[in-house]
Symmetry: D2
Subunit: 352 residues, 4 copies
């Protein structure tokens, strides 16, 4: 099989370099172009010296792109860049995998609501492409992804919360009011750009919550869980930053319905994730940790039920830059091109 030719837009950010690192291990895909709007002409390895000798490809201005070179274009770009560039790549016959919220919603109305949350204009720039797009949480949408032209890669927090709650909600095992997603992320989730809040002296010994009651990822979570439940779902979502680099730990709370037992729940999770290469469901009594999945495309889940309060607590660990971003994107490439989904993605992290 010829190699799948990959163009990467937004090469200079963490989402871009993360994809480059993963592509170096992928047997069936190769990078053909790196696009960005700055650092033009510089080899990627000048921005990221750890890539010296591994990816010295220069960065081309995205205005000078040649969409015909690529079988697939990854948009590792901020909101509203993907929707500007996607039509061009699609017209040239390429698929598109977009990291932002641009293609996470199938209707203009939902997009508009999302856009308002992030302070952007409500109009989608290419609504005609929405019908050929799919939400890229591969575990829930692989059939749709295989048929799609554009994939809207999910938000990092959303991946951890949706995977953690999906089986319980789909199985009708929990009450749908008062779902709580308490999420903690490492600092890399904020991207590459320096910021007073992420300056080392301000951050190394700090933790804080932010965007309480207003984070945009809550929409994806509610939409996905609502589809699984067959009814509207309301989620309280609290993003928090803790002083480590990579990793999301989402602690998820839902009340078990009367009569649902711990074993029912476990059965449902085991069935739901039976063939998933990237979901590691821990056995009863075990709790995971960021160490277990850092650097990998895995989502690690543990289930904890309290008979006394009927509360189900689920702890969900992912690496925000891999399963939460570039890894999910590459998993979607595998799905789009009907490769085994774990191609080039099934490896452990390093420890310590």
């Amino acid at each position: 099989m010829p190699q799948i030719r990959v163009a990467l837009v937004g090469a200079g950010g963490y989402g871009g370099v993360g994809l480059v690192e993963l592509l170096l291990k992928h047997p069936d895909a190769e990078l053909v172009a790196l696009y960005d709007v700055e650092s033009i002409g510089l080899p990627l390895s000048q921005l990221y010296p750890h890539l010296q000798g591994f990816c010295d490809m220069p960065i081309t201005h995205v205005d000078d792109r040649d969409p015909s070179l690529a079988d697939v274009a990854f948009m590792a770009t901020p909101d509203r860049v993907g929707m500007e560039l996607a039509p061009d790549f699609v017209a040239a016959g390429a698929r598109v995998i977009d990291y932002s919220g641009d293609f996470r919603f199938s209707s203009e109305e939902m997009y508009a609501e999302y856009a308002v949350r992030i302070g952007k204009p409500p109009q989608h720039e290419c609504p005609n492409l929405l019908p050929i797009s799919e939400y890229g949480l591969t575990e829930l949408h692989r059939e749709g992804i295989r048929k799609a032209t554009i994939v809207g890669n999910p938000g990092c927090f959303a991946v951890s919360c949706i995977l953690g709650l999906a089986p319980a909600v789909e199985g009708g095992l929990v009450e749908l009011e008062a779902l709580v997603c308490d999420a903690k992320t490492g600092v890399s989730g904020a991207g590459k750009k320096p910021n007073p809040a992420f300056h080392f002296p301000a951050r190394y010994d700090n933790m804080n919550a932010y965007k309480l009651t207003g984070h945009q990822h809550v929409m994806e979570i509610e939409r996905e869980l609502g589809q699984l439940a067959g009814e509207d779902v309301q989620v309280t979502f609290t993003p928090q930053v803790v002083p480590l680099c990579r990793g999301i730990m989402s602690t998820l709370y839902a009340r078990l319905k009367e009569g649902v037992h711990s074993q029912d729940l476990r059965d449902q999770y085991e069935t739901f994730f039976a063939d998933e290469p990237f979901v590691r469901l821990l056995p009863e009594g075990k709790t995971g940790s960021n160490n277990d999945i850092r650097g990998t495309n895995l989502c690690e889940l543990s289930l904890h039920t309290d008979e006394r309060t009927r509360m189900l607590t689920i702890v969900s660990h992912i690496d925000n830059l891999v399963k939460g971003q570039a890894g999910s994107a590459l998993q979607n490439l595998n799905a789009l091109f009907r490769l085994p989904e774990s191609t080039g993605l099934l490896f452990p992290g390093r420890y310590p």
Copy 2:
């Protein structure tokens, strides 16, 4: 006024050294004896070299204690040590401030339940002292503390959760089912003893939950909130460890009762904490951070209500070694001896 003479049992641990540091700033109390069961004869500054020149007092074996020397004895000791030593100090006329769970419960029955949770024998060793003891969350029990002989200093997590939820519960503003306390602690909460989970390479880039559904601090939280509510309260409590040294951030979730508005809630909190020197209630729209309170005896609270879901989210920050331990203990000394409660305790941390 003569200085209050302080004996410290358990000088060698973090709880001990934290009290020593605070006493160096206290104008009305002075250290007269350091007791422990190891490092006997060594100056404290040999264990903690930062104290060279500031506290070079040697450590005496606790078996060689002289209870008559002290007006108050701090037990910075593990569970069941305080109950063994307290009778002796009480007999000599000293007050006792105990850091462990030994005197946090006023009945033998509650103590037994607690003891089982931490894997200890259910019998209290000096039940006759329970009636002269008080639970040491000063903000809620200062009247009792002033009359008590023994103070059971609260658990660090409990301080952050109870202070965060107390006004809402006391005011009857929230539903009492499904209260969730999602707590994150820095590593110093685990104490001084090395442990594989807190070895730097295992911890610096890690986070995890532990003791899900079974942590012992939940009992204090439920008891205190229940007293404020006038009915039984059930709390789901999840302790988690994040890679910083000092600090607890507890994110607290409670559903607002129908008809309760954001301003009602804020009014209640402002009234409840109106004269508290150590509670910093942030104005609407602000969120706190560990940086704001690290190294201090402050508890910083922010309130967030979501009209859409009727969920109240409270973020509560404390320094686990100060307001969560030695600072609370010293605040209790001030209460016991009827000094202004902020004596020697009102200072900012350093930054960065």
Copy 3:
């Protein structure tokens, strides 16, 4: 005695806030004005929320300064700001303590050489003030400081290196060729401004050397050691950044002259620092650590001689923001106003 009235220019940076924290503990000095060129009108505690309730004084634009208010003005400002403002304060009768290199050199020629190293114009803006200025390493220049009007506070690296080598050089115990100062600093040394190199994800697991062979602090080191030696001294100085917040560890290498023994060296250091409140000379066989001095105005030194190679290795620890900056500046205030030099400055750090 009336309080010494302190004006602070550059209130918003780490050097400014560090001084504010220290002044809160100083019995004889009080802050009367905070100046800066941004955040005008905001209380300092809005920039630094840990100061809420402790320093809520608003920031005034430096162009609106009133030099007559202050007995002393601290310039916690970048190079070439102090020399612009000092004349004004001096004319009004105030002393000036400047954090930058503006007043570290007594001649226009030396200043010019320094200025070139940091990419600034070589002309000093107020050469007429140089004769009434003194270099502010208090341990070596307290007599001069007492008589001076302006103090040029030393560079943070310079403090650690000069204090470490001064006795050996002054005593003629080491060869003066090939002195090596290998210095590691925490990230706070780079100041408050975000920067790609100090963004948490780029820094938390990183270390690197920079400005090899060209750092400007080498000039102070050579000048001071040269004065002590009575001849020219050449120093190789390597600054390095390690992932912690506060602290400098300088490892200093000098060859012992033939016939000099370990005890000669120790005698010289003990004599040299006999009455210094802020130098902690460790006993034979002990090595210090950043933990011992973090947050304090102390310099901790250990001496290590290798009979085999005749190499003397000295490890010098300071807190770059205290003894390396605001603490030294306050020590200079004490000297200027003939207070006991340790007034308000002698306290241990907190641990852990």
Copy 4:
């Protein structure tokens, strides 16, 4: 070619798990047995949960070893274990790669001197194997390694210092007196075992020097540099710990001989390392960082000459657990079995 069968003794430590991680990527070698003296019967992935699904092989007691299973045995073990087990593996026809100092010295006399430094008995247990052993710094000894039966893998500090200084010393470009190696290591260098000095709260904001003038790695450095120089060499070596997990930065100081210019030096380094896959010599004016090499088998070097002082400063970065341990060991396997030396070892780290 059949797979090279690898037995690993000391599977449970960082050196063991590091090798397992690397073997998962090696195309020509496979793990056949994991030995240790504890955790017997447990899958390695129970000790290191990140390996779940990747290496679930159980640990066998080393006393139950079958030397005939393996083509090569790695001894990821403390000093004096390799010399006890090596004869058995050698007798069965296997090669041995030992991580400790047991086979780093070719004579009983040198071993004895080394042993004394680490507080061990001076007698080597199998001196008859010394003649068939080779020092495993592959870049300097690959010819010898290809012919050897046993490889004594170098010390982590030694790798960084020897590679950094070797060309200068071999080329006769520097004075041999007063060579200084100032080395900083991340905490993983201390291994897996918890220790008060590496407990997170004691370490996260700390740095210190240790074993000044007495570290055992200095012997390897002096021996290797002495062989290259053709005369005795004395080195001053200072190990220091900084708060990161993986990485060594050694800053190396040597005086250039009169008449040696910067370009001479650069030419010599370029020639010396011309064909080395794992040495990255940075161009003039660039400085490296731990980020560039973390997680890899690379050694990154930068050269800095100061015309003024004739001092050469070299900064040498390695990952102590890869190029400083398991990676070097695997590079030696490649050499022993005459595979291309970079087989399975040439990959970048991940960033951030």
